[in-house]
Amino acid sequence: MDRFLFLTFDGLSRGAVYAAFALALVLIWRATRIVNFAQGAMAVATAYVAYSVADATGSYWVGFAAALVAGLLLGAAVERVVMRFIDHSSPLNGVVVALGLVLIIQGVLGMIYGNEFRPAEAPFSRDAFNIGGVALLSRYDVFVFAAVGAVVVLLTLLFTRTPTGLRMRAAAFAPDVSRLLGVPVGGMLTLGWALAAAVGSLAGMLVIPTELGLHPTAMDVLFISAFTAAVLGGLDSPIGAVVGGLIVGLVLSYISGYLGATVAPMAVLGLLVVVLLGRPDGLFARSKARTA
């Protein structure tokens, strides 16, 4: 029972990261009908920025902030320079371009930093402290919950309470009409990509210290988990992304807890297959088919 509780909290903590990353995928999908397959690589790139900045300044937190800022800039740049010019006649076009970005980013990171794993420090202890005699949560888990919770709350406020949020939603749903109503649609898309990339960066910063460390491909598996979460929730639904992320986190935590950590990657694949074939619309989606 203690173990179950432990795995539950561990799963929620991982799930929170998946939720954040899935949220980033959903933001971009809603606005541009592109699944940003480059998001993992983009997040890793900003994590390297954090590494360099933290190294130079000696402060984890300055590095952390640098990663988020770098995420904003990278997201905006990717939208402005590349994604804006994608031809939408086939949904594969966006996928292939994003994959090209993955190669570019991983290649450039490799050239600058090399292809060794670099240790990534966590800002808080990852040892679980005891609550009523049971080791459930570490300080780091609390930090993860707080960070992801803050992001979810801030994004919710942005989208539902501010004029900019309303503009962003309108631009995503009906670009032509929005333009007639005075919404600078291009700017909103850039902003959306910037925000999504920053959220992706946050997820990367949170997850990398819990894995093998910093490496150009460090986010590949996380991307699959988060993609699974986003699809589970329905690619169109931010709430779905959060719920999906938590569910995927729990499932993977139980599986690797009871069956061994090495099966976790396969479990992700299995889960994705089950979700894709079993729940055609996702839990919260409004649209119909998996055809996009």
């Binding site: 010019f85 190669l103 290649g107 699959i224 996009a292």
Partner: protein
Amino acid sequence: MTVLKDRVTSRMVAPVMRRRLNPFLMVAVGAVLVVVLTYTLPPFRTYQLATIGAYLCVTAGLTVLTGLNGQLSLGHGALMATGAYTLALWQNKFNLLAVGIVVAILVTTVAGLVIGLAAARLRGPYLAGLTLAVAVVVPSVASTFDETFNSDQGLSVILNPPPESMTVEQWQAWLCWGGALVTTLVLALVTRGRFGRDMRAVRDDETAAKLAGISIARTQVWTFVISAACAGLGGALFAVLAQSVSPGAFPLTLSLFLVMAIVIGGLGRLTGAVIGAFLLVALPAVAHEIGEASGSQRLEGNLALTFFGVVLVVVMLAAPGGLASLRLPRSWRARLSRKPAHRAGS
């Protein structure tokens, strides 16, 4: 909405795939060329030639899948790994290469069937996501079953020495190009016949294909299976070339390289697959030279990676209509863009 537009654009594209060379002639010419090259090139170049042949098996199968049937697979690197590991295990037990290659193809075909069955129900980014997951996860399977796959170290492949009259490189080149030429011949024949027509019909307009009595799912699954068999052969040949297999040899980037190769060469065309296979060997070789010259180890592999990425992005953005237009010969592309008014009616 996007699907609809996709259909319209690709329907205009459909009637183009006519003008073809006789595949038997092509293969015969290719065989002669390879034999001549193996007797003229220095050993290292011959080895590279062999590698091109192994890649060609995979790119040819992938370009048929993506270009002619419209299914994007990011998992072909994993299918290659399946073929390679199968061959390694077989060789280390029985040391009977010819049978081993067949077994590798069969095992990969089964894997392809499983993925293909799932893939037939998925489209666009969902299919891409699933195959991406396969590409990321499958190498990690190797580290899960330590006793069988020997984890990250991988396995070495036992091989008999080549016949005395040849060098190892010549033998490798003949073997790989034998596989490659048979693959292209089979694919050329398959894609010209009725099945090829079905494949294109499904790609262009699923509803119309269904109305014409074509089973969408069956066509897609079969295409995936054929394409997987090609990847299995390619993987087995790689195991022979490297005389070892390890998870590190089949990273996600390998799958992405394969996609880049078929996109650059012109999607859905076997000549494109040849160009792509050539570039997969040539570009890293150039990057290697540059890396050597600059004395920086980091540059080496990563330069090729970056270069492939840039090429992929630039090609996709420069081609009006993206992937669909890459299926067209250049003259057609020009003609279409000159007469936009007539497009819709055709």
